[in-house]
């Protein structure tokens, strides 16, 4: 599985993602500069965390119009895998690859801590290596991770089984106290209709080694590796 990691001015989790994919999982990885108009032969694009273009105007708003994102959108439309982490999730929402938006955390603070996430479905490449109901301990680090969408969109996500991860307690209960940022329905990560685009606020790439306090993020990345690679057009 060949990975590409998009780099915007202000991306700061690009190297973490590179380390997790190349050094920990041993996969071929290359960077894609935001001005690149093509992705090359990558199978899975990672849109990493950070503060693309300083998060000016709105998080992800400027990045969404970059040449690389145009290529990412084409990649997604042709069925290629796209994984948006944190700022990457915000960008995918701005690009309308995923519905809804990420607004300011309800407590206004930037939260940087390990949280618990429940795997809601294994029907996606990204959660295919997990167990349904499995609780993962993965860090979040964001000021704007409060997932919002109109009620009919939330209903649709639920109906189509597109909420992949929810914030939960240590033992897997979905409670308001376990919701760090006010996200509707405790939503931490969703996929698109065709299930090849996944956006999540937590950072699986920061939880791939015991040394870092958790290896639970590996299950997300390893799920991607299970996919049989379909040739890019």
């Amino acid at each position: 599985m060949k990975f590409g990691i998009v780099q915007f001015p202000g991306s700061n989790c690009d190297q973490d993602a590179y380390h997790a994919l190349a050094d920990v999982l041993g996969q071929p990885v290359r960077y894609i500069w935001h001005k690149d108009t093509t992705l090359g032969d990558v199978d899975c694009v990672v849109v990493p965390g950070g503060f693309s273009y300083g998060d000016y105007l709105r998080t992800g708003a400027i990045a969404r119009f970059s040449p690389a994102m145009k290529a990412v959108m084409e990649h997604a439309k042709s069925g290629g895998l796209v994984l948006g982490i944190c700022n990457g999730f915000q960008i995918l929402c701005e690009a309308h690859l995923l519905p809804g938006a990420l607004i300011r955390n309800r407590g206004l603070k930037l939260i940087c801590e390990h949280v618990h996430l429940r795997v809601e479905t294994i029907d996606s490449p990204f959660t295919s290596a997990a167990r349904k109901g499995q609780v993962l301990r993965i860090p979040i680090a964001h000021g704007e991770g409060n997932y919002f969408a109109e009620p009919k969109v939330i209903e649709q996500l639920q109906r189509e089984d597109r909420v992949l991860l929810r914030y939960c307690t240590k033992d897997g209960q979905i409670t308001d106290a376990a919701n760090p940022n006010g996200s509707l329905d405790n939503i931490a990560g969703i996929c698109n209709e065709t299930r090849n685009v996944f956006g999540l606020m937590p950072h699986p790439e920061r939880a791939c080694e015991k040394l870092l306090g958790s290896e639970d993020g590996r299950v997300i990345l390893e799920g991607v590796l299970r996919m049989t690679v379909t040739a890019a057009p």
């Binding site: 709105r58 708003a61 607004i103 955390n105 206004l108 409060n146 919002f148």
Partner: protein, 80 residues
């Protein structure tokens, strides 16, 4: 010519900033405050031209980039 644009969070969207500022004002004894919402004000200087065309362009800019229709609504005026 200038376009003056106001972008506000939709009424259905929680505005944590507005809420916090409301609480601060109340704790400072400003009374009678029903609600506070915080948005953005933008000023765009224009080279000029046909006003109807400019209206159309600014509207497109607001819709595509300057606001996010999922969570925000906008109004604008073009001044000579």
């Amino acid at each position: 010519m200038k376009a003056r644009i106001i972008v506000m969070p939709k009424k259905t969207v929680l505005d944590p900033q507005g809420k916090t500022v409301k609480h601060a004002l109340e704790s400072m004894n400003f009374r009678g405050i029903k609600d506070v919402r915080i948005g953005k004000f933008m000023e765009i200087e224009l080279e000029g031209g046909n006003k109807a065309e400019l209206q159309k362009k600014i509207d497109e800019a607001c819709h595509k980039l300057l606001s996010n229709p999922v969570i925000e609504e906008y109004t604008f005026e073009i001044h000579e």
